[in-house]
């Protein structure tokens, strides 16, 4: 297992390099002079000589490859550049907001898994009944309703009308309920779908029939089946994490949640390119690592997986 983990980690290196290359290339794709993009508005009063000076200082006068090598070296040292707006290191800015995003994403994940699995299992057990159909409808709404809209509707009902929850901001658990519910709901649909299909498949297995034949209570039988039905669900949870992060970006904006996603949107609006690059790189790396963890746990859970 340890060797397997090491090999999987090594396999990430080219992907991470590719991600870094893409993020680095954003500076070149951006319209206009890269120096101006990096320095921002403060460059407006600068003389041509001063700009050339800066160009050399940033190493922008050298070739693409040399600059990229430079970039990766700096990344390896944990240097993601400085934000144009605040002048502070990008990594610091991201770390400052990361806990809020982690909290939101984690809670939303919990909501998504609980809701998705419940819907999926119910739909599978009560197949072709109204329970199944209702679960299908709820799951369909989950993928079709924009997460920022369901967030706004929740806010309207539970905060602005009923006054049960604070409309926005960051603080105790009451601030977390609506954003987590909105993001979790939209991510639960796919989990429900896979759980249902997997559960139906499992319920058809011989050992389930044996369980029934032995006269076990339906609840016990379903518990046996669920354990085996969950394996495919694990992989989906990892993939859903990406959608969840995307949902978090939108939802953080709706609820003024001080996370990485909202910072990214603000940075794009303010054309703070270093901050945009750093945030994108950070979230992408996080996503890749989460998927690795999910893959590994799948391998650990499934005795059929071999490590060679």
């Amino acid at each position: 297992m340890a060797r397997y983990i090491v090999r999987r980690l090594l396999g990430l290196v080219p992907v991470l390099l590719g991600v870094a290359l893409l993020v680095f290339a954003m500076l070149w794709i951006a319209p206009g002079d890269p120096v101006l993009a990096l320095v921002g508005e403060s460059a407006q009063g600068m003389s041509r000589e001063a700009l050339e000076e800066l160009r050399r200082a940033y190493g922008l006068d050298r070739g693409f490859v040399a600059q990229f090598v430079d970039y990766v070296t700096r990344l390896a040292r944990g240097d993601l550049g400085d934000s144009i707006r605040t002048g502070r290191p990008v990594l610091e800015e991201v770390w400052l907001r990361f806990p809020a995003t982690l909290l939101l994403a984690g809670s939303a994940m919990a909501v998504a898994i609980a809701l998705g699995m419940a819907l999926g299992v119910l739909a599978a057990i009560y197949r072709r009944t109204w329970v199944d159909h209702a679960a299908v409808v709820v799951a369909l709404l989950g993928v079709s309703v924009p997460v920022f809209w369901s967030g706004l509707v929740l806010m309207l009902v539970f905060a602005l009308r009923l006054g049960w929850l604070p409309a926005s901001g960051y603080g105790d658990w009451r601030h977390l309920v609506m954003p987590a519910a909105a993001v979790g709901f939209s991510s639960s649909a796919f989990i429900a779908r896979i759980t249902r299909a997997s559960m139906i498949e499992t319920l058809r297995q011989d050992y389930v029939r044996t369980d029934h034949a032995k006269g076990l209570a339906p609840g016990v039988v379903h518990r046996h089946a669920l354990r085996n039905a969950l394996l495919p669900v694990v992989t989906v949870v990892g993939l859903q994490f990406g959608g969840l992060l995307g949902g978090a970006v939108l939802t953080e904006t709706v609820f003024a949640w001080p996370g990485v996603g909202r910072m990214l949107v603000d940075a794009i609006r303010a054309r703070d390119l270093p901050l945009v690059q750093g945030t994108v790189l950070f979230i992408a790396t996080l996503f890749i690592l989460v998927n690795l963890v999910v893959d590994l746990s799948y391998a650990a859970l499934n005795p059929k997986v071999r490590y060679d």
């Binding site: 954003m26 509707v153 939108l250 992408a284 996503f287």
Partner: protein
Amino acid sequence: MTDRSTGDDARRPDSGGSGRRPALGPVARVRRAWVRARHGWSSALRAPPVRRFRRNRAALTGLVLVLLLVALATAAPLLAPYAPDAQNLRARLRPPSAEHWFGTDEFGRDLLSRVLFGARISLMTGLVPVVSGALLGTFIGLVAGYYGGRIDTVLMRVMAVLLAFPSLLLALAVVGALGPGLTNAVIAVAVVGVPQYARIVRSVVIGTREEEFVHAARALGARDGRLLLRHVFPTTLGPLTVQATLGIGFAILSMAGLSFLGLGVQPPTADWGEMLARGRRFLPDATWLLAFPGIAISLTVLAFNLLGDGLRDALDPRD
């Protein structure tokens, strides 16, 4: 959520939709006997794709909704009671009434007219990125799958990097580099789709590459380009259609999200996402500004999802 992976439909051919199985005519009976002899029992019980689609109530609902939407978008100038950007400062923030069925916004613009015209933007921003992303992705997938070897490795490595980003984050990264705006947002959403189409097409092509009819065409002297376009490409059309239909729903959702964040469609263009971003400032009173654009987005995306799922169930080559 139909039973794709369960193989259940093979035993209950009428499970997909309403009603009983129609009685078979003499031709159909012969055909079924022939298919049974050739492919075994279960595939003979499988209805052809068109009939399978027609029996699927959810898919039909999706199709009707999509057609309705296209009709509304096309006829928007005829149907809309007002011009979408005509301001009437004496009728600001009016709730729904006989004059303004969906109410008015803070400039006194008629919301119904704006929602109708928004359907055009929405369909456009759904179709354009999907078509362009699918074209590029298909090309990459065809080349990678057909030639294999180093070309395949390099192309798929690049696609793997694109897939390593969460979709919306990749779109945000592209917008972050190019700057906000409608065109850049469309490019961003198109980029997100490219690796998905490339992967699907490649996997189909790898399966088709060694088929007899491809060998036959090659033996007859067909060049690579012709072979790819005339013989290999058509086999990818089924999976491609499914992915593209579902992709339209996703693209509309992403574009609405980007516009909601102020990074996509810019005012005063009537766009559902932008309307929501603006309308939220007038909560909790002007609920109509929240309700109608939101329902419009949800219904549109739902329609394409239903249609895409139905197409997948009808065309799924795994059956």
